[in-house]
Amino acid sequence: MVFNSLIFLAFFMVVFLIYWFPLKNTTKGQNIFLLLASYFFYGYADWKMLPLLVGATVIFYFLGKGIATAKSEKQSYWLTFLGVVLGVGALLYFKYFNFFIESFASLFEACGLHTNLHTFNIIMPLGISFFTFRMLSYVIDIYRGKFEPTNDIIAFGTYIAFFPCLLSGPIDRPTFINQLKAARTFEYEKAVDGCRQILWGLFKKVAVADNCATYVDIVWGDIGSQSGSTLVLAAVLYLFQIYADFSGYSDMAIGVGKLLGFRIADNFKFPLFALNIADYWRRWHITLTQWLTDYVFMPLNIKFRDWGNWGMILSIVITFVLIGMWHGSNWTFALFGLYHGLLYIPLILSGAFFKKAKLKTNKLGLPVAKDFGRIVLTFSLVTIGLIIFRAPSLTEMCAYVCGIVNHGIITVPWLPSVIEIGRIALAIVITITVEWLQRNKQHGLELGNVHIATRYVLYWVLIVLTIALGNFGANQFIYFQF
């Protein structure tokens, strides 16, 4: 049930009406209803895995209580350890088990040893990478003394399975439970802002991501016969595709959350204007990066703190390889993470890493030349990284890179019909312009202080553009597979 589908619209309208009318005055009733709606949403996508989600929720609820009421520090530590083993174990089993078997078999065969290792038919539960991270942060935060375990299993279950964030994040922290426990009142302004954010997310998804996807998929489907310039264009368009797809999804999830009276964590802060790689990762998939910063990078960095910059580099590289591997069981993802980790080395050694990058603009409101150069450089480095990310295998990644070098980069790239390329170009120009103008706001269509007439003109223009430029093939979101 993707957000940009009629079935989701029908589902959400029913949820919204029941939630704000008959259940308006009962927080408990609203939470029970949200939990049931979330389980229905999950079951609609993958009913066979629903018992796993419910079972894991119950286990982590009681683990949290056990950690807080443990009789000794040691007992509390081992209960937390059990939680981490269960969460990480589930991820390893469902996402990486076959990958490890295949990798070991290849390694043994490379050494001349014949093996009888077989892979298994393991179906990965949807959203597992997201809901296990919520469960893990719950038990770890309780162990660290940062969060009190809740006595409200309904609120806990809703935090884990909250349908707008269940399949692709954002990955909210346990403090979200406090929002679930508080009474909710319908705030008109918040709800309208949620609608605006959904509209902007929808535009990015159907007008930018799904149009770019058509071109990118054709090029990736036949790398060998493409010119170097076509491969470069497809690589650039893939950056726009994945950004518009995932940030569009996140905008819609946050917007749906606002309509239900919640404040879901931001996941993107206009990463197209990042000034360096560190700045980029502070703006891209923020809830995942922040999660790994708190639970992986920080403990490692504390462990290695006496090694100075090299301790930090080691911690960053390990964290980024894990960020890469989180996306799936493929060496390309590990290499993608390693590539980004290594890009931090010059920033750490030069000290630029420790200074927050601040963008300067000229009289025209555009970035000054130096910062524009830094934006272009960061954009190019990210584009290269996404070739590794998009490649189905290391072999195809090499073929793609070799194709750029060997197949004529100074040529006219293959272009589809004028209408199609015009649609892609216009959608991208609109996205860049809007996000540049709104870069200090929470999202691209935050228009709280704009005059009402202007606001309505902008809504209608954007709705018309979404319909005119959009590709309504009901394509899945890229991050559903992770």
Binding site: R305, F354, K356
Partner: protein, 78 residues
């Protein structure tokens, strides 16, 4: 050492590491109150504090602090 003395010395370390003279620490101060204080500069602050007071924190201690007051209590207890 007096707690106020510890606070004064820790404040000096914060000003020095974060390169910001205006920093005024209180028990309730958190990373949200000081823009320059993030997960990266946090480690630099820890290393500088450990060096200055000739102490060593455990990982759990460092990860459990929620404000400056808790950090000062930990230093005072060493």
């Amino acid at each position: 050492m007096e707690r106020n003395q510890i606070l004064a010395e820790v404040q000096e370390i914060f000003r020095d590491v974060l390169d910001k003279e205006e920093i005024e620490l209180q028990d309730a101060t958190t990373a949200d109150d000081i823009e320059e204080w993030d997960s990266l500069t946090h480690i630099q602050l820890i290393v500088a504090i450990e060096k200055h007071f000739k102490i060593k924190f455990t990982s759990k201690e460092i990860l459990s602090w929620q404000n400056v007051g808790q950090m000062l209590d930990c230093i005072a207890a060493k």
